[in-house]
Symmetry: C2
Subunit: 225 residues, 2 copies
Amino acid sequence: MIEIAIPIFDRLTALDAIGPYEVLSRLPGAQVRFVARDAGPVRTDNGMLGVSANLSLREAPPPDVVVVPGGLGSRRELAQEETLDWLRSSHERTRFTTSVCTGSLILGAAGILDGLEATTHWLSLEKLAEFGARPVRRRVVEAGKVITAAGVSAGIDMALLLAARIAGDTAAQAIQLGIEYDPQPPFGAGSPDTAPPAIVERLRSLSSGAADRSARPRTPIPGPP
Amino acid sequence: MIEIAIPIFDRLTALDAIGPYEVLSRLPGAQVRFVARDAGPVRTDNGMLGVSANLSLREAPPPDVVVVPGGLGSRRELAQEETLDWLRSSHERTRFTTSVCTGSLILGAAGILDGLEATTHWLSLEKLAEFGARPVRRRVVEAGKVITAAGVSAGIDMALLLAARIAGDTAAQAIQLGIEYDPQPPFGAGSPDTAPPAIVERLRSLSSGAADRSARPRTPIPGPP
């Protein structure tokens, strides 16, 4: 049995968590558990979706793998000692400690990225250095047993790599075929290096304003992480 | 305001629903609602995740866009007249009626695919013909306002195309950049055309046995849709 814990929180970005879940839950013998400071439902960043944590951090079995998602709510988790303590003690015995998007800032706040190469959503990359990490703009960054992924959808790629590390390439490829992950985006705008510059600038300016926005983080167009 | 309804049910495949949700919720003025025959939590195909439907089908406002996910539970929905009636009446006024993975079989059972080109998870493609559709093996198939996507992860590509149809290419590209959808899978095994043949055969044989399996649909390796 492989115990995989995904700690969730209010205002997480759903795909950060669900992408890796969809991959890792298909590993032979995997048990994925959604955990939170308090068991029960949380709402996603835009308030439109409820996802349930089945166990509190205190109740969760010690995980072999941790996957920390990001989202607007990650800012609050940065200061939640209960979350950070759980990450630190879990990390002592995990096989892999991982994150998606701004989830890496939470790992950083727990001290887990000290001196390590790491990545996050492109709009938050500089912030990683504030947490002792060495920011790298790659889709997936492996630093020993600590693996970080770029924004939101990058968790799927990270999880396939992780699946291969845990169960071998054939198992990972079978999962990829099972979820028919043969991506064909209709545009090539998924990276700040390839998107039209005006769109990159628009997201940058929305992002810098996001910290000032209150309760409901709906932006007229794709929000920052 | 664009009303987007995602009907969910027990034993759905989470990424089928959450991929499109993550894209479409970022459209300007979009309201994504998770709806079900009864409001409340449902469990995903492997039982590991709870997702909440906020409204029953009866309570849901008439949607402009419908996105039907798939999963093992889709088999049960094929015979649920309440679901099929809701789909038929919604379809009369939608701008787009769409599906991901075996969600297209549910559209088919409602009569919505009659004579239309459509797609689904590669393991279920032949079944589409039983529902009056013309099966096409493409990642996303547009047939007027009816758009169907291939397995699980294909919903992300479909939703970006849909975002472009609704709000224009720039809006769709901004969403793609917001979720950093610059896919870099570590293997090229996402399609039966590119995966190692032994893996394709393994999933085919697991899939043909799936109909006989009972309560808990955990396969040792990536399950069928």
